[in-house]
C-alpha cells in the first residue's frame, strides 16, 4: 500500500526531470525541486514551473524531508523547508510539518532555538482593539486573554526552499512581520499586499525537539537569547526572593521577640580617670607603656545572662588596652575580656586618614549567675592621664551576626536579579 502511494506521488520535475515526491497531494500548492530549485505548481497535473531558487549553495536541513515527529500527541511528516532572511541580515529556518488530523504546523529554528508554530484563525487585536498591522502603534497585542508585548518589526524574504508548501512560494517575495512576545509564547503577524497571516509560537527546548523526532544526535546548542525564550533566572529570582524574605523575616522576628524579652539593665556607667604620672614606665620589646587599674566593684549576674561593655576614650595617636577581670567570690572563678582601644589619624598626600576608633563595645557570652567583683587593668602609651567612659549593660541582644546574615541573604538575590536583568538585555540587544 505504501509502495503504491509512493509511486502515485512521485513525479518528474518539469524543469530538470529529477524525481520529486508530493507528500501531501491535494493540499500542497507548490513544490520546490531539491535538484534544480524550480518551484512547481502542484494544483494542476501540468506541474508548471512558477519560480526558481538558486541552488549554488545547497543547504542541508537538520532533519530530512519525510522525517516523522510527534507533537500534540499526533504524528507529523516533515514536508517542506525554507530559509528566510530579514532586512537586518539575520537568517532563520522554517520546517513545515503536516498531520492528516491537525493539518500544518511549523518549526522555526534560529541559532539553536526552536519554536513550534501554529497558524491562528481570525485576527489578533492590539490594545486599541484594532487588528494588528505593520503600522500598528500599539506596543501590545491580545489573543485568547493573553497579552503580548511588541518586540520587533522587520521584513522577511524567502531565500531557499525544499519540499512542498500549502501556498505558492515565490522567490524574493517580501513580507512585513511584527512579533509580540510573552515568553515562552509569541504571536506574529505576517503581511503582504494581499493577506495577513497570524501565528502563535511556543518556545521548545532542543531536547524536546530531538525527542519529537526520535533524534539520537545532539542538536546545536542555543546561543544568544531568542525573543520568546523563557528567562531561566526569573523563577529563580522570585523563588529566591520569597525564600530570602521568609528567612530575613524570621531573623527580624527573632530580633524583635528576644529584644522585647531582653533585660537591657545598665549596671555600671561612669567616666573614669587615672593619674599616671607617678606610675613607672614598663617596657616590652620596643613598646613602652604604663600599667594601671580601675576597680569597678560588684557586677550582679542574675541568671544565664551576658554583658555588653561599651568603652569611650579620647585617644589621639595613642592606644589603651583594657582587660576586664570579673571574679566570683563564692566560686573563686571568673572571666576576663580584653578590648584594645586605639586611634590614629593624619594627612597623607593631602588626604585625611584615620585608623581605629575611640568607641568600642564588646559582648560577652552568657555568664554563670553570681556577684562578680570587677577590676579593669589597663596598659597605655599615655603618660599623664588615662581617661575612659565605661558602660556595662546586662542581658543585651547582639545585632552584628543577625545583620551580617541579613546582608548575606541579600547577596544571592542581587546575583539572581542581575542575571535576570542581563538576560533581558541580551534578549533586546
Amino acid at each position: 500500500m505504501a509502495e503504491k502511494k509512493e509511486k502515485t506521488n512521485r513525479i518528474d520535475c518539469t524543469s530538470c526531470g529529477a524525481p520529486v515526491t508530493i507528500r501531501v497531494p491535494g493540499k500542497s500548492q507548490s513544490l520546490a525541486c531539491d535538484y534544480c530549485g524550480s518551484v512547481l505548481d502542484t494544483t494542476s497535473e501540468a506541474y508548471q514551473v512558477i519560480g526558481k531558487f538558486n541552488r549554488d549553495n545547497k543547504i542541508k536541513p537538520l532533519f530530512e524531508l519525510g522525517s516523522r515527529a510527534v507533537f500534540e500527541d499526533e504524528e507529523f511528516e516533515l514536508v517542506g523547508f525554507l530559509r528566510k532572511k530579514d532586512n537586518y541580515g539575520s537568517k532563520w529556518d522554517e520546517y513545515l510539518l503536516y498531520s492528516p488530523y491537525l493539518g500544518y504546523r511549523y518549526l522555526s529554528y534560529w541559532m539553536g532555538h526552536w519554536n513550534y508554530i501554529t497558524l491562528l484563525n481570525g485576527l489578533v487585536f492590539d490594545r486599541y482593539d484594532t487588528p494588528v498591522l505593520p503600522s500598528s502603534l500599539s506596543n501590545q497585542a491580545n489573543k485568547n486573554g493573553t497579552t503580548y508585548k511588541k518586540f520587533f518589526k522587520y521584513s522577511a524574504t524567502v531565500e531557499y526552499v525544499i519540499g512542498e508548501f500549502n501556498w505558492r512560494v515565490k522567490r524574493g517575495e517580501k513580507t512585513s512581520v511584527v512579533d509580540y512576545i510573552n515568553p515562552p509564547e509569541s504571536i506574529s503577524g505576517e503581511f503582504n499586499n494581499n493577506e495577513a497571516v497570524y501565528s502563535h509560537a511556543l518556545y521548545v527546548e532542543p531536547p524536546a525537539i530531538a525527542r519529537a523526532f526520535q533524534y539520537d544526535g545532539e542538536l546545536p546548542r542555543p546561543v544568544h537569547v531568542a525573543p520568546n525564550q523563557p528567562n531561566p533566572f526569573k523563577p529563580r529570582f522570585w523563588l529566591g526572593l520569597v525564600l530570602g524574605l521568609v528567612m530575613i523575616g524570621t531573623v527580624i522576628g527573632s530580633l524583635v521577640h528576644y529584644e522585647s524579652k531582653a533585660e537591657n539593665k545598665i549596671l555600671y556607667n561612669k567616666a573614669l580617670s587615672k593619674n599616671l604620672l607617678s606610675l613607672p614606665i614598663k617596657r616590652e620589646g620596643v613598646e613602652r607603656y604604663k600599667e594601671f587599674q580601675w576597680e569597678l566593684g560588684d557586677i550582679e549576674i542574675n541568671g544565664d545572662k551576658n554583658l555588653e561593655i561599651e568603652i569611650s576614650t579620647a585617644l589621639k595617636d595613642q592606644w589603651m588596652n583594657l582587660t576586664f577581670f570579673l571574679m566570683n567570690e563564692e566560686t573563686q572563678k571568673g572571666y576576663s575580656f580584653t578590648q584594645l582601644m586605639s586611634f590614629y589619624d593624619g594627612y597623607s598626600d593631602g588626604e585625611y586618614w584615620s585608623e581605629g576608633s575611640n568607641k568600642e563595645s564588646l559582648q560577652t557570652v552568657k555568664l554563670k549567675p553570681g556577684t562578680y567583683y570587677t577590676i579593669v587593668v589597663g596598659q597605655t602609651n599615655l603618660r599623664r592621664f588615662a581617661r575612659a567612659e565605661i558602660k556595662i549593660t546586662r542581658d543585651v541582644i547582639g545585632y552584628a551576626v543577625p545583620f551580617t546574615v541579613i546582608i548575606i541573604l541579600f547577596i544571592p538575590l542581587i546575583y539572581y536579579y542581575l542575571r535576570k536583568r542581563f538576560f533581558e538585555q541580551r534578549r533586546n540587544s
Binding site: 531561566p232 525564600l243 571568673g334 576576663s336 560577652t364 557570652v365 551576626v401 541579613i406
Partner: protein, 65 residues
C-alpha cells in the same frame, strides 16, 4: 534547568544562615573570654591595689587557671 545547584545551595545556605542568626540572638553569642579559676576574691577585694602585683601574674602565668 541548568545551574539549579546554585539555587539548591542558596536554599540550604539561607536556612543555615537563618538558624545561625537566630541561634546567635537566642544564645547571646559573644566575644572570646578567658576563664579564671582559683582566685581569692575576698583578699583582692580587701586590697585591690595589690591585684596587679600579686594576683595578675598568677592569673596570666597559669593561663587563667
Amino acid at each position: 534547568m541548568k545551574h539549579l545547584w546554585a539555587l539548591k545551595y542558596y536554599i540550604v545556605f539561607s536556612v543555615l544562615a537563618t538558624v545561625l542568626a537566630v541561634g546567635s540572638i537566642k544564645e547571646r553569642w559573644g566575644g572570646e573570654s578567658d576563664e579564671i579559676d582559683k582566685v581569692n576574691v575576698k583578699s583582692i577585694r580587701q586590697n585591690p591595689g595589690s591585684f596587679r602585683s600579686l594576683y595578675l601574674p598568677i592569673i596570666i602565668y597559669s593561663g587563667g587557671k
